[in-house]
Symmetry: C2
DNA sequence: GCACACAAAATGTCAGACATTTAAACGTCA
DNA sequence: TGACGTTTAAATGTCTGACATTTTGTGTGC
C-alpha cells in the first residue's frame, strides 16, 4: 500500500481507495493503527489536508475511527452489525426515494425477503421475541395511536420477526428492506378498518410463530403483502383523482 | 439547514450530518447544487478545509458529486443502483470478514434470500437470462477451469437467478449476500466430483426456471444449500485436522 | 508512594495562497 | 450575421504553515 498511479485526478480519492483496498484485502487488520497523518502525507507525497480528506472518506464508511491525543491516530475499525445496519438503512432509503421505485416493487421485495426468514423464525424465535410481537400487536390495536406511531410499531413488529430467525447476517440484509419501506408506508392514512385487518394478520403471524408453523407464517405474510398492496393502490388512486 | 449545536466535537462530522439529513429529508433534491465551499464555510462559521472534509464524507457515501470549474460545485447525487450495489457489497464483505461469521450462518442467509426470489424468477426470467445461466453451467463443467474462475461463474449464475426476479430492489438487497460469500467459497477446493454435483443442481435450477416451476427451483436451492454446507464442513474439518 | 505539573504526540482547525479546470462572455474576422 | 478562438471569472483541488486541543506518559516534589 504505497503508490497511486499518476492517472486521473482527485488524490484524496486515490489514497482512500488504496487504504480501503488494503483493509478489504486483509493487509491491515482490525484495531491496527494507521501511520499518522504526517507520515501518510510523506508516504503518498501529498500534503496533510489531502491525507485528512482521504481519512474522512474512510471514516464516513466506518472503515476507520480516529482518536486524538498522544498515541492516538486512525485505527482500522471493526465494522459492527449496528454500523452496517445504519449504512444499509440510509442507502436503501435513499435508493428508494431517489429512483421513484414504485410502491409495488418495494412491497414485493420486502415481503419476499420477509417470507424467506419466516420458516427460520418459526423454528427459532425466542419467547421474548414472541412477547415483543404480541406487545406491538396490542399497541397497534389502540385507536388513539397516530399513523406515524402505528408505522413505527409495524417496523418493530417486522424487525422482531426477522430477528427471530437468529441469523445476524439475515437481519442485516433485511434491515434496509424493512426500514426503507417506512417512508412509503407513512404516506398511507390508516383507517380503523385497515388497522383492524392488519392487526388480524399480525396476530395470525404471531400465532404461526408460536406454534412453530413456518408455512402458516409464510401464508399470512403473503396475505399481508396483498393487503398492503391494496392499501397502497388506494392511496395512489386517491392521489391521482385529486390531481 | 444552517446551525449545528455547539456540543460535541468534530465539526466536519456535524456539518456532514446536517447536509445528509437535509438530503434524506428531501429538503435538497437530486441535482440541486449546494452552496460553494466558501459560502458553506461562512454559513457554518468554519474554515474551508473543514467544509471540504465534510463534503468528502458525503462524497464517500455517493450522496454528492463534485464538478470543477466555473458553475461547478457539489451537487446532490442520484444514488444509482450500481453505486448502491457497490456499497452493499463492500459493507457485506467487510462485515463477514471482520466478525468471524461462520460459514454456516452466511450460507443459510444467502440461500434463504435466494429462495425468496426463486418463485419470482420462475415467473419472470427472460430467455436471455436463462441462456446466461445455461452458458455458465456449461463453463462450470469444463474441467480445466480454475477454482477461482469456477467461483466467479457461480456468482454470475446466482446473480442472474436473482436478476431474473425482475425486481431491482431485490437485486440490490441480494447483491451483498451473493457476492460477500465469494471469499468464503474461494477457500473451498472443488474436486471433480463436487463440481459435478453442483453442476447437476444448477441444471435442476435452470430446468425449473425454464418450466416456470418456482417450487422446484426452491427445492433445488435447498439441496444446493445442504451440499454447499457439507463442502464447507469438509474444508473446516480438514483445516482443523491439520493445525 | 502519590499527586500534580509538564512535555510530547497526535488530531482538529484555521488562514492564506496558488494551481487547475471549466464554461460562459466577449471579441474578432470572414 | 455567424462561427470560432480568446479571455475571464468562478469554482474545486492542493499546498504551506501555524495554532488549538486532547490525551497519555513521565518526572518532580513532598
Amino acid at each position: 500500500m504505497k503508490i497511486d498511479p499518476e492517472q486521473k485526478s482527485d488524490l484524496s480519492a486515490q489514497i482512500a481507495k488504496a487504504i480501503r483496498d488494503a483493509i478489504i484485502a486483509g493487509r491491515m487488520i482490525v484495531d491496527e493503527r494507521l501511520p499518522s497523518e504526517a507520515e501518510l502525507a510523506e508516504q503518498f507525497a501529498v500534503s496533510r489536508p489531502t491525507v485528512r480528506e482521504a481519512l474522512k472518506r474512510l471514516a464516513a464508511q466506518s472503515l476507520i475511527r480516529t482518536q486524538r491525543g498522544a498515541f492516538g491516530g486512525a485505527f482500522v475499525n471493526r465494522l459492527s452489525y449496528a454500523e452496517a445496519y445504519g449504512q444499509q438503512i440510509t442507502t436503501a432509503t435513499l435508493l428508494l426515494s431517489m429512483n421513484d421505485v414504485s410502491f409495488d416493487v418495494a412491497c414485493e421485495a420486502r415481503y419476499a425477503l420477509e417470507r424467506a426468514c419466516a420458516p427460520l423464525s418459526a423454528k427459532r424465535r425466542t419467547a421474548d421475541q414472541l412477547a415483543t410481537m404480541r406487545a406491538e400487536i396490542h399497541r397497534q390495536s389502540q385507536p388513539a395511536l397516530s399513523d406515524e406511531a402505528f408505522c413505527a410499531s409495524d417496523v418493530t413488529f417486522h424487525r422482531t420477526l426477522v430477528d427471530g430467525a437468529g441469523n445476524p447476517v439475515l437481519s442485516y440484509q433485511l434491515a434496509g428492506a424493512v426500514e426503507a419501506m417506512q417512508p412509503l408506508m407513512n404516506m398511507i392514512t390508516f383507517t380503523a378498518r385497515s388497522r383492524e385487518a392488519i392487526v388480524a394478520l399480525h396476530t395470525r403471524i404471531a400465532d404461526a410463530l408460536e406454534t412453530h408453523d413456518g408455512a402458516a407464517a409464510e401464508t399470512a405474510l403473503s396475505n399481508l403483502e396483498a393487503y398492503t398492496l391494496e392499501l397502497g393502490r388506494d392511496v395512489m388512486n386517491a392521489r391521482a383523482a385529486k390531481g
